[in-house]
Amino acid sequence: MVNLLLVAAAIFCFLGMAWLALAMDSHWKQVRKDRLTEFRVRLLRSLGSASLLASVLFCLAADHASMAALVWTMLLAASALGVAFTFTWRPRLLSLLVVWAKAAS
C-alpha cells in the first residue's frame, strides 16, 4: 500500500513538472506546432500545480510528515531531471500530456 502511494506520488510529480514545463514557450514548441495561447499557459500551470499538490498529498499519506517533506523535495529533483531528459531525447512522449488541446487553434 505504502509503495503504491509512493508510486502515485512519483507519477504525479513527474506529470506536474512536465505540465509546468509545457507551459513554457520553448518546450511547448518542442512538442506542438500550434501556438501556446495565454489560456493554455494558465491551464497548463494550473494542471501542473494541482498535480504537484496531489503528489505532496500522496507523500503525506505514505509517510510521516517530516519524511514526506524529504521524499517530495527529492521527487521534485528527480522529476525535473526526468522531464528535462525526456524533452531532450523523446519529446514526442510528452505530447501525450497535451492531446486534449485541439490542434490548429
Partner: protein
C-alpha cells in the same frame, strides 16, 4: 574590482569551484555510495551475506562475547607513550560496553573501552572493537575491511586523511565553499526558471555542458544546499571545538552537573556490583516505547561503569520510522534493573538539530528516499564535473593560442576525479575479490592491501590522464577520457564476474532470492559499465567526426547520473 555584482559572483564561483571542486567531487560521489554503505559491506564480506538481524539477547549471547574482548596489540602499542610505567597485560576496569545495529545490518558491531592504569591523562580510555554474527556470537575475522561503512563512508567526511584531523577540516571548508558556490551560481544564472528543463546535447559542447551544469545544479538545489549545510552541522563540534579548548573547565563541570541532574553517575563508586538481567531491562524499554505509541527495535545498547555499583545500562531505540535522529533512551541501574531515567521529549532546538542531522545520516527505513539521495549525490557529481569541462572548454582556444598549460592540468585533474575515481572504486572491489583470504606472514593485512589497491588505481589513472593530456594544449580532446571509459567498460563487469566466481552468488541467484544488497551492487556495476560504453562510443565519434574541434560527451556525465 568588478563592474557589477554578477561578475564578482562569477569570479568567486569559477575559481573557488575550480580549487575545491576536486574535493567536492569525492565528497559527493562517496557520499552517494555511503547511502548504501551496509550493502557494499555485504558484497565485500561474503560471510556476512544473510538477512538483517535484531539485537540479540545480552544475557545469553552478548555478555560472554563482551567479557572475552580486550584491546588489540596495535592499540596497546599506540597507548604506550601516553602512560607512565609499563602497560598491563589485561585491562580489567571496564568503562563501557556498546552494541550497535541498524535495520540494514546482519552483523553486529561491538565496542568496549577500558580505564588505562597510570595514564598521563586520568580520562584516558583504551578501546576494542569486534564484529559478530548475532545469531551465533562467532566473530568475523579482524582484517576484513567493511568497504562501505569503514572506507567509502569515512572517505566521504574525512577523505581518510587522519593526520591532525586535517581531512575533516578540508571537507568542512569545501562544504562551506559549496554553499558559497550555490548562492553565487544562482546569482550568476541568467535564466534560472526559463531554462530549468533545458539540455541541448546537439549544440556546441560549451553550451550543452553548461546546460547540464545548470540543470543538475538547479533541480537538486535543495538537496545540495541541505546536505552541505547539515554536513557542517553534524561536525560543528569539530569545527568549533570550544568544549575541548577555551571552555574545557566549563565542559567538565557541565558533565558533572548533568550527571547530577539525570541521575546517571558520572564516575565509578569503586564498589563492585553484580549485573542484573539486561534482557529484562530491554523488555521494559520495549514496553515503555510501546506505551508512548512508538514501539520499535533496539538500535544501541550501552553499559557504563561495568561491574561497579554506579553502573548503568542505556537502551536506545533504532530510528527506522522517522527522520529525526533520536534514541528515546531509557536508563537502568545495572545492579538492580530499576529505571533511573527516561530521556525527556526534545526541545524545539533539539528537534531541529535532530531533524537536520537525521536527514543527512539516514537511519530511517525508506528505500525510495535512499535511491533519491543517490540520485541527488550523483547529480552533484555531474554538476561539478561539467563545471570543470566548461572551464576548459571556454578557455581552450585562448590557452592554445597563448601556449598555456593551464587547461591541460585542469582537464587531466578532471579526468582523474571523474573516470579515475570510478576506476579506483571498481579497483578496490576487484582487489577485494581477488586477494586470498589468508596472506603470507609479514604482509600487510588484507583490508590494508585493498586500500592500497584503491589509491594505487587512482594514482595510475591520474598518471594516465596527465600523460595523455598533450592534446588539450592544442584545444583537442584528451584521449584519456575515452580510454578510461573503456577500462570501466571492462573492469566493472569483471568485478561482477569475480563476485560470482569466488562466492557463487551470481545475479540470477541473488535476484531470485531477493538478496538486494549484493544484487543491487552487481546491477549498478553493470549499468555503470553500459553507460561508460555509450560515453566511450560517443567520444570516439566526436574525435573521429571533428578532428579539429573538441566535443566532449554529455553522455559521459550522464553515466555519472546513473551510476549507483
Amino acid at each position: 574590482m568588478f563592474q557589477n555584482f554578477r561578475l564578482s559572483m562569477a569570479w568567486l564561483h569559477t575559481w573557488f569551484g575550480l580549487v575545491l571542486g576536486f574535493v567536492l567531487m569525492a565528497i559527493f560521489f562517496f557520499g552517494a555510495l555511503s547511502v548504501f554503505d551496509r550493502e557494499i559491506d555485504r558484497w565485500a564480506i561474503p560471510e556476512s551475506r544473510f538477512e538483517s538481524q535484531p539485537m540479540p539477547s545480552f544475557d545469553k549471547l552478548l555478555r560472554p562475547v563482551f567479557e572475552s574482548m580486550q584491546p588489540s596489540k596495535e592499540s596497546i602499542e599506540q597507548m604506550r607513550s601516553r602512560v607512565d610505567g609499563p602497560m598491563p597485560e589485561r585491562f580489567e576496569t571496564i568503562r563501557s560496553w556498546g552494541a550497535y545495529t541498524t535495520h540494514r545490518d546482519p552483523v553486529l558491531s561491538l565496542f568496549t573501552s577500558y580505564e588505562v592504569p597510570n595514564a598521563k591523562e586520568p580520562e584516558e580510555s583504551i578501546r576494542a572493537n569486534r564484529t559478530i554474527d548475532p545469531r551465533t556470537g562467532v566473530s568475523l575475522p579482524d582484517d576484513q575491511l567493511k568497504i562501505g561503512s569503514r572506507f567509502f563512508y569515512p572517505l566521504h567526511y574525512s577523505l581518510n586523511f587522519r593526520w591532525l584531523n586535517l581531512g575533516y577540516w578540508i571537507v568542512g571548508f569545501a562544504s562551506l565553499i559549496m554553499l558559497a558556490a550555490l548562492v553565487s551560481g544562482v546569482v550568476m544564472h541568467r535564466k534560472l526558471f526559463r531554462e530549468m528543463f533545458t539540455f541541448r546535447p546537439k549544440k556546441s559542447t560549451q553550451r550543452s555542458t553548461l546546460d547540464l551544469h545548470n540543470l543538475t545544479g538547479v533541480v537538486a538545489l535543495p538537496f545540495h544546499f541541505f546536505f552541505a549545510f547539515t554536513g557542517l552541522v553534524i561536525f560543528a563540534g569539530i569545527y568549533f571545538p570550544v568544549s575541548h579548548s577555551q571552555l574545557q573547565q566549563l565542559h567538565d563541570q557541565h558533565e558533572v552537573l548533568e550527571a547530577k541532574e539525570t541521575g546517571l553517575p558520572h564516575d565509578r563508586s569503586g564498589e563492585p556490583a553484580q549485573l542484573a538481567s539486561v534482557d529484562a531491562m530491554v523488555a521494559e524499554a520495549h514496553r515503555r516505547w510501546a506505551e508512548r505509541g512508538m514501539a520499535g527495535e533496539v538500535g544501541f545498547l550501552g553499559l557504563t561503569h561495568v561491574g561497579d555499583s554506579n553502573g548503568y545500562v542505556s537502551v536506545y531505540r533504532a530510528g527506522t520510522d522517522r527522520v529525526a535522529l533520536t534514541g528515546e533512551g531509557i536508563h537502568f541501574k545495572a545492579s538492580t534493573g530499576e529505571v533511573l531515567r527516561e530521556d525527556p521529549p526534545s526541545t524545539t532546538v533539539e528537534n531541529i538539530n535532530e531533524f537536520l542531522t537525521g536527514l543527512h545520516l539516514q537511519h530511517f527505513r525508506h528505500w525510495l528516499l535512499r535511491w533519491l539521495y543517490v540520485l541527488g549525490g550523483l547529480a552533484g557529481c555531474v554538476c561539478i564535473a561539467t563545471g570543470f569541462i566548461f572551464f576548459v572548454e571556454k578557455r581552450k582556444r585562448q590557452y592554445a593560442k597563448e601556449g598555456s598549460q593551464t587547461g591541460r592540468v585542469v582537464d587531466a585533474l578532471a579526468v582523474t576525479c571523474v573516470t579515475g575515481m570510478l576506476l579506483a572504486t571498481v579497483g578496490i572491489l576487484i582487489a577485494n575479490r581477488l586477494l586470498p583470504s589468508s596472506l603470507p606472514s609479514g604482509w600487510p593485512g588484507r583490508g590494508d592491501l585493498e586500500q592500497y589497491f584503491f589509491w594505487g588505481t587512482w594514482v595510475l589513472a591520474m598518471a594516465h590522464a596527465f600523460l595523455r593530456s598533450a592534446a588539450v594544449a592544442q584545444a583537442k580532446l584528451n584521449p584519456a577520457w575515452r580510454e578510461q571509459c573503456m577500462a570501466l567498460v571492462v573492469l566493472a563487469p569483471a568485478a561482477v564476474l569475480l563476485n560470482w566466481l569466488t562466492t557463487g552468488d551470481h545475479l540470477y541467484k541473488t535476484l531470485s532470492n531477493g538478496y538486494w544488497p549484493v544484487a543491487g551492487l552487481d546491477i549498478s556495476l553493470l549499468v555503470a559499465s553500459g553507460l561508460a560504453f555509450l560515453a566511450a562510443r560517443h567520444l570516439r565519434r566526436k574525435a573521429l567526426g571533428a578532428p579539429g574541434s573538441v566535443h566532449r560527451s554529455p553522455v559521459l556525465a550522464d553515466a555519472e547520473v546513473q551510476h549507483g
